[in-house]
Symmetry: C2
């Protein structure tokens, strides 16, 4: 049995004991040494079991004494159900909410639970600035000349090398750089589809992607999605004859934070290839895993060039640099032409700076710290929500990424909650934004990409109070 597989198997067994109550809150777990003996595994594998459980917030470590079942495990907050969107494709969404929520982007006076980016204080600003200055000196002509259409070769090489980490085997020539991941998705939609086509996506789904697809004339078919395991494959099988395209965020999808199990990814890739339906894979959150290992991408299972894999550094390093890329498989020529025609080339300096940053280990060091911070933030959010949000609140269980999906009692309309909260300088993303249909009216996405502090804590508590006040019989 594969070693990677072994530790997740063991961790799953222990997790199961916790969720069924065999192991109770506060119980001490067997030591690393005991685990080694019991299962006949190495010290390293045993340690990974605990890291995995810790990353799922199921256990806590106490220095010198060992691991204990968390006092406030997630079990206190139930999971939302699998989404059940309408089977009719939609072509338009609620614009006014989007405009309202995005209007505050970049504002310093608000607590922005609404925006899924890491805040500047979690990013290596000084190191990046030095890379930018170095890039102007390192580039031929100081970076004022047009890049090649395909984009900076250092950046492409580094992204190719890093693809080993998610089961890929990309070559630098397989990649095309873009102006961030949205620009990558835009090119992919134009290359692999055409106006009038029907595209399947997860539901709930990032509003920008919904807008992009409908804006380009696509019909969006929202798919049933599990808050932990993502797209429901059986549902996909049923609609295969009527879709032309599929766009998924298999790793830590916003807003749910779900992650498709490896076997689901493999199955989806095979299914879509068999039906000749292109798969656009948005992997912008893939590097932000809370577990001990980077999840694979669908692209790892792509043998036919049918997967267009997109990512960027916007969620991990520098949103404002607008540096992204595509591994477009068999759509490479089409994407190159689209990039040339719509933008000539990408900005040279930012690509070189990011290429160099990725090249020298700085990125891995930064990612390790960022992941730790995000996981801690997430756990603090869940605890605060468990204590201060109204009864009946459910949350998703993100295994990585930047966002948490919160489902309130049916009577709480989160579009109204937005209006109340914004008066207190608190911005949230109402659930209605994440669909083109009438669903998720009692849901909200909360992002935890900001360093936890007194303001965040008090805003989160305040949000709970505002939500409670919306339930009847409370005045």
């Amino acid at each position: 049995m594969n070693k990677d597989f072994l530790y997740t198997e063991i961790a799953r067994g222990i997790a199961n004991q916790i969720s069924t109550g065999v192991l109770k809150a506060g119980d001490k777990l067997p030591s690393v040494r005991v685990l080694c003996r019991e299962y006949g595994i190495s010290m390293n594998t045993a340690k990974r079991v605990f890291l995995e459980l810790e990353s799922l917030s199921l256990v806590n470590s106490k220095p010198q004494t060992g691991y204990y079942v968390s006092l406030r495990p997630h079990a206190k907050l139930p999971l939302p159900a699998v989404s059940r969107p309408s089977a009719v494709a939609s072509t338009q969404g609620p614009d006014e909410l989007l405009d309202k929520v995005y209007a505050n982007m970049g504002s310093k006076d608000f607590t922005l639970f609404s925006i899924a980016v890491p805040s500047a204080d979690l990013l290596p600003l000084e190191k990046l600035s030095r890379e930018v200055s170095a890039a102007t000196r390192g580039l031929h002509g100081n970076g004022v000349a047009y890049e090649s259409v395909q984009g900076n070769v250092k950046l492409r090489r580094m992204v190719a090398i890093r693809s080993l980490g998610w089961g890929g085997s990309l070559h630098e020539d397989d990649l095309i750089t873009t102006n961030g991941a949205m620009n990558a998705l835009s090119f992919c939609l134009m290359a692999a589809g055409k106006p009038g086509d029907t595209i399947a996506m997860e539901s709930p789904c990032f509003p920008g992607t919904l807008q992009l697809a409908t804006g380009l004339g696509f019909k969006v078919l929202e798919m049933p999605t599990h808050p932990v395991t993502g797209l429901e494959i059986d549902a996909l099988k049923q609609v295969l004859p009527k879709i032309d395209l599929c766009l998924l965020v298999p790793n830590f999808n916003t807003p749910l934070g779900s992650c498709m199990p490896e076997e689901n990814k493999e199955e989806v890739v095979a299914l879509l290839a068999k039906h000749n339906i292109p798969l656009i894979e948005d992997d912008i959150y893939g590097d932000l895993f809370f577990g001990s290992q980077r999840p694979k991408c669908c692209k790892a299972f792509d043998t036919e060039g049918n997967v267009l894999w997109c990512s960027s550094v916007s969620k991990t390093l520098a949103p404002g640099y607008r540096v992204g890329w595509i591994a477009p498989g068999k759509y490479k020529d089409k994407i190159l032409k689209l990039k040339l025609v719509h933008s000539i080339s990408s900005p040279a300096i930012a690509q070189e700076a990011v290429g160099n940053f990725l090249n020298n280990g700085k990125y891995e060091t930064h990612l390790r710290q960022l992941r730790r911070t995000l996981r801690d933030n997430y756990q603090k959010y869940v605890r605060t929500i468990a204590e201060h949000f109204p009864e009946g609140t459910k949350t998703s269980r993100p295994q990585g990424g930047l966002s948490l999906w919160v489902e309130f009692d049916k009577r709480i309309d989160t579009a109204k909650l937005y209006d109340y909260a914004i008066k207190h300088q608190i911005s949230i993303a109402p659930g209605r934004m994440f669909t083109l249909q009438s669903q998720f009216e009692n849901c909200v996405r909360l992002c935890f990409g900001m360093q936890w502090n007194a303001q965040i804590e008090s805003s989160l508590k305040h949000l709970g109070t505002l939500a409670k006040a919306m339930l009847p019989g409370r005045d």
Copy 2:
């Protein structure tokens, strides 16, 4: 009578005397003092008359002695005729030629007559690099955070202030920044039109724009265009009922270098507004005038918000920075939404750097030098062409910009000439690229954005030799 108008009137009179042979090559012109007395004008106005004539390569100054009619005036090379494209709109172009020609972009081993950008040695590399480093320090969060969707306010403010120079009166809030001008045009086409619409453009026309429009599903109606005065207004009047959109490059259009007279601009803007047809104005070459004054833009005559004015610094300062903008008039909300959905925001650092560069007079100093160099280059090209190209060669008479349109004898197929020239490391842009129809097969666009040197001179001569060898009876 307006002072600006006065000097152009007098210059036109003298130009007329040169073209009709009243004044002959080598003749001395009256002195500045004499001109003042004769026309009752100021010294400044008289000097502008000579600058204007010099900018048109009609006269040369000799230090201490005065102005003389050029020894090799343009008259030696006749003008191409007004283009007469088919009146049927097209939806597809010759892809393989474009791919071939653009494949060499950025290559250092070739003489790239084919690419209309100023070469790096004509750009203020060091100053720009310092601005980039300063921008990372000056921006909140060193520029790693998302910009506002509308874009950097310093840059928008400077573009607004500079609009006075072309008869505009923009406010910073009228502008949206983009990832270069092609990205601006792409958004404008999506905002002001829809797939299936018919769009009128000059013919010959920049291939990127043709590709962009057909790629987005537009039908392109190529319009008769005069090599000096641009779009033929009478032709436009005839097709008004069947077009939905118009895209023009009124100032120094590539490949012709034509410039629409002010009165034509005013008339076109009024005509299109009356018929409720949006005008997309691409003004990327507007700052590269050879005459004494920046020509106005169509946007200067726009009273209804019907003109979407686009420009960038790609032809004047830093192609690789991808910094452009739109003044979208009444399409502002639509463009903001498109920008958000297709790219979130623009790269922060490059915009801030360019905004600062434009703010402190450095840009004007740079432009003055660049214009002088380009005008000199152009004159050297024309002289070399007159001496070394086959008989019967005609050229356009660019009044600014970066490119010259050359029309050979009908028997010279420039797609073949491309194949011959590329073997000698010389890249040209065959005329066939600049249309979706079967025309311009004997034309070529030559760009003069590189510092004149022995290699350029010898490549240009060589090109003439290769062209001559294509005429029959020469072996």
